[in-house]
């Protein structure tokens, strides 16, 4: 090889790598922006969940639920809309790891809301359609409306539902304190059905296994609460029952810990 050739190749290599640098930076930046949005979604969703947990104590639970729904739509518009814009035209699975945590927390909040509102399990279609937006397309003239969305893979939806069960457990325990003695029995039946569903799936992923394990523990706590309710219900005045439930291990304390951590 002649000396000239060598020099040429040298500059060629560095030219190529300069281009690669741009491409890598561009992708890393997008990833970072999505991680940030996802973190915001997690925080806001947790706040909505805490708000709904408090609805168990108040007699204005409808009002609290409306507030929670406002929070949830706020998350959709302020966090998921920019996320959908970032993801437009990309393979949704490429960046899933960046926003998976936020998405699961959001699904937990939404499904909790729907449970409290109407005792229904929110469907995947519903979750997906909440996260589908119409946006003005810039590249066509005149501007047209197009649908952009944050893709919700079924496995993320299921993982979000698995998290919901933990919230239901806390809700059931808390609601005893406010005098709602039917709630634990309702939740207990609901959790049993969910657990049955998850167990019928068999091996899905390690993450799922971990959550199902937690679900089983939550169910046991609610079952213990139902048992106590049955046994002690006749002998203690209602307003004192809450103190009994404070001694159910893990239930109240884990809720408090999590709240301290985040707020």
């Amino acid at each position: 090889m002649l000396a000239e050739d060598v020099d040429q190749q040298k500059s060629h290599i560095s030219q190529c790598f300069q281009e690669y640098q741009k491409e890598l930076d561009c992708r890393h930046d997008k990833h970072e922006r999505l991680v940030k949005l996802s973190r915001d979604v997690t925080i806001e969703s947790k706040r909505a969940i805490f708000l709904m947990q408090r609805s168990s104590g108040s007699n204005k639970s409808d009002e609290v639920l409306d507030q929670a729904w406002q929070k949830i739509t706020g998350i959709q518009q302020q966090k998921f809309l920019p996320m959908a814009k970032e993801l437009h035209g990309e393979d949704p699975h490429q960046f899933l790891r960046a926003y998976s945590a936020g998405l699961q927390e959001y699904i937990e909040a939404v499904s909790f809301y729907h449970y409290l509102k109407s005792k229904t399990l929110v469907s995947l279609e519903q979750v997906q359609s909440d996260l589908t937006f119409t946006a003005q397309s810039d590249d066509t003239e005149p501007p047209q409306e197009k649908a952009i969305s944050v893709h919700v893979p079924p496995s993320e939806y299921m993982l979000g539902l698995a998290d919901l069960t933990g919230e239901l457990m806390r809700f059931a325990i808390n609601s005893v304190g406010s005098g709602n003695l039917d709630c634990p029995n309702d939740v207990c039946a609901y959790l049993r059905r969910m657990l049955g569903g998850f167990e019928s799936l068999g091996q899905v992923s390690r993450e799922m296994n971990r959550k199902v394990y937690t679900l089983r523990q939550s169910l046991q706590k609610v079952e213990a609460a139902c048992y106590t309710l049955q046994i002690r219900g006749s002998e203690i005045p209602k307003h004192m029952l809450k103190d009994v439930f404070r001694s159910v291990p893990g239930a109240e304390s884990s809720y408090m810990e999590e709240r301290d951590l985040d707020e």
Binding site: M1, Q9, C16, L24, T120, L124, Y157, L161, M194, V204
Partner: protein, 230 residues
Amino acid sequence: MDAHESAERIAEVFADFQSYFSKEQDLREEIRSTVRELEQTAREIHAVLQKVHQKDGSENVVNVCKSTESNFETARKQFKELSAKIPENQYYRFNDHWKYALQKLSFLSALVTYLKTEKLVSREETAAMIGVKLRQAEGFHMDLDDYLIGLLQMASELSRLAVNSVTAGDFHRPMRIAKFVAELDAGFRLLNLKNDALRKRFDGLKYDLKKVEEVVYDLSIRGLKPVEGT
């Protein structure tokens, strides 16, 4: 909604997911079987290329490279087969399965190209050699990371070749390899790497460079370094 309806809804949700999940498992199994074939092809090419480390092989580099052509043809066919199985826009849902094979083939194409022309394989050439697309928008493509990891694997192989060339009595080749690996290193230094697989692989490049430089040093102090232009 009464309890009965609610129970039905839950059953429905789980049944839907069950069928989604078992379909995914079937597809993954199919992908795995094609990827296994691809990995076998890559291993065969690698085995053939090992000949260049031997004395008689290093004199016949061109022939050795030529004999891998049919294997690359097989790889192109297998990638085509694989890409037909991946639903549109779901490349990244499954790409863990073939990432390793893709990196290895990127490495092999870079090595063959260097042995033939002593130049750095371009991203376009690699994509064409192994039969994948260059850009994500065009279909089954090669990630930039996988191409770059392939180049880093080549640097390791070349540092080994530098040592073995000396053993085989070829003192010119190590000089050229040293220059080439140094250029590659300079190129990689331009990248802002995150703490990922590419970064980990890049961290090994300095050892390869060091090894090649040591070969050059050993030749130099013994007066075995060939005079420029001979």
